[in-house]
């Protein structure tokens, strides 16, 4: 399905179909933004607090800027974003596609010789692949800001010192690798959700199963792939 979908990418960018891609981009962003905001800020705050408290025992708390920024960009940013998007957007896609199968909409597309992969999968795939890195940048910014807040209020690390420290040690590579992960996770979520949706049988019960499987399979794949990508880039 993934391979078939990539063949259609040029088609998806023609005028008539572009609106559907934008539509999906919008849905993806809006659906997850609220949760992401809260989760990202608190992830940063927790990171800062935990590492900060440990570092303070050695008098090294001025380094939390680096600790939070690097961990957010490399790992927690893409990871947290992917989990939230899988749970909110992925499950919604599976439910929608599953419902389309059960209510004969996919059959109707087949009769009209409209390729369901091109028509349904592709806009969602593109939207998630594009939106995941964008959302991850947002998560990173909020996480780093949350860390700075905790640093300033609880660890006596001034905002300026936090930023200076982060800029000193965090590398561009950390950001890029994180964004690459986000991109891969986006593809994983879209493919899993659409696939589970398409193999739905047995009415409403089946749609429920498709949704649940999507979340579980996405979570596991994101975890394992996340580890493997880390292994490839950092050894």
């Amino acid at each position: 399905m993934l391979f078939e979908a990539t063949l259609f990418i040029p088609l998806a960018l023609t005028k008539r179909r572009r609106s559907e891609v934008f539509n999906q981009l919008y849905i993806t962003g809006i659906k997850s933004l609220g949760v992401i905001t809260v989760v990202a800020a608190f992830t940063g705050m927790i990171l800062a607090l935990q590492t900060g408290l440990e570092l303070r025992r050695f008098g090294l708390q001025q380094n939390i800027g680096t600790a939070v920024t690097v961990v957010m960009m490399r790992e927690m940013g893409p990871f947290m974003t992917a989990l939230i998007v899988a749970a909110s957007v992925g499950s919604a896609i599976a439910a929608q596609v599953g419902t389309m199968v059960v209510s004969e909409e996919v059959s109707a597309l087949e009769i009209m010789s409209i390729n369901p992969v091109r028509f349904i999968v592709l806009p969602r795939l593109i939207a998630l692949a594009v939106m995941m890195p964008i959302l991850t940048i947002y998560t990173n910014i909020l996480g780093v800001a949350g860390g700075a807040l905790v640093g300033a209020t609880q660890l006596q690390v001034s905002f300026q010192a936090y930023i200076d420290n982060a800029q000193l040690y965090a590398q561009n590579k950390d950001l890029y690798v994180g964004l690459l992960k986000a991109f891969v996770f986006g593809i994983v979520i879209a493919t899993t959700a659409c696939h589970q949706g398409f193999v739905t049988t047995e009415g409403a019960v089946g749609v429920g199963q498709a949704t649940r499987r999507t979340v579980i399979i996405s979570f596991l794949t994101i975890l394992v792939l996340g580890y493997m990508l880390t292994r490839v880039f950092y050894r």
């Binding site: 008539r16 539509n23 929608q96 419902t99 389309m100 209510s103 004969e104 909409e105 059959s107 109707a108 087949e110 009769i111 009209m112 010789s113 409209i114």
Partner: protein, 254 residues
């Protein structure tokens, strides 16, 4: 036009079609009725290869649809318009966009031209007002009529209707009956109509088939159909208070 030759199809635990034979002629309105769950929808789905027979063949004209693939299957399917039992409209498109979809995907027509054609078809099913509404804002009967408009927008040779009037009020039902009848008279379209409503079956059908346990137990023109001695047919007629010829024409309950 459409021919089933000794088709057997097993679904779940039983043969839904079991050595099934049927011939539908070009230009006729052919009605399929039968008890619920007896394979009426399954029969329609075989005609457009949404289901493939376990054995036997399904022919559309000279094309064997049950063995076609790829481009050939696309070409055969393009001869059909299909109204699904559940309507099968795409939820994220408006009624107008749904109706125009086949043209938008397969022709070079401009957006305005497509909208005009879609509006015209929606007018035929008395739903012009619904043009900008989403399916979720329409009633079941309205969705079905939008789906009907979509099925005929490409002006196909053959239209399959799965229960076009179920869920509609009697007045709208007769409008749909007239629409189907007019498509045959004016454009010579071949129609296959699945329905439980024998009043409309007798009014629009050139021939009527009764399906029961995987076979067509009766295939005949309305006059003979009413005189049939088959017990399933009699049961259907009596359950709808059609006990003698002429009753349905005058709309009397006898």
């Amino acid at each position: 036009m459409i021919r089933f030759e000794n088709v057997t199809k097993r679904l779940g635990r039983r043969n839904v079609l079991d050595g099934f034979d049927l011939e539908i002629k070009a230009g006729e309105t052919f009605v399929i009725c039968g008890p619920s769950g007896m394979g009426k929808s399954v029969t329609l789905k075989h005609m457009v290869r949404l289901l493939t027979p376990d054995s036997g063949h399904v022919w559309v004209g000279d094309d064997c649809v049950s063995e076609a693939r790829g481009k050939e299957l696309e070409r055969i399917r393009a001869r059909f318009g299909v109204l699904f039992q559940s309507g099968a409209l795409l939820e994220w498109l408006t009624a107008g966009e749904n109706v125009g979809l086949p043209l938008r995907e397969h022709t070079d027509k401009g957006d305005e031209e497509i909208d005009t054609l879609a509006r015209e078809k929606l007018r035929m099913v008395e739903l012009e007002d619904a043009f900008d509404k989403h399916p979720s804002d329409l009633s079941g009967g309205m969705r079905k009529r939008v789906a009907l408009a979509r099925a005929i927008i490409t002006e196909p040779e053959i239209v399959l209707y799965d229960e076009p009037t179920s869920g509609l009020d009697p007045v709208t039902s007769r409008t749909i009956d007239e629409l189907i009848d007019n498509l045959r008279k004016q454009l010579g379209i071949t129609s296959v109509v699945v329905t439980h409503d024998l009043h409309s079956a007798l009014a629009i059908g050139n021939r009527i088939a009764m399906l029961n346990y995987g076979k067509a137990v009766e295939v005949s023109a309305p006059e003979e159909f009413m005189k049939s001695t088959n017990s399933v047919v009699r049961g259907f007629l009596e359950a709808q208070y059609i006990t003698r010829r002429g009753a349905w024409e005058k709309g009397l309950k006898v």
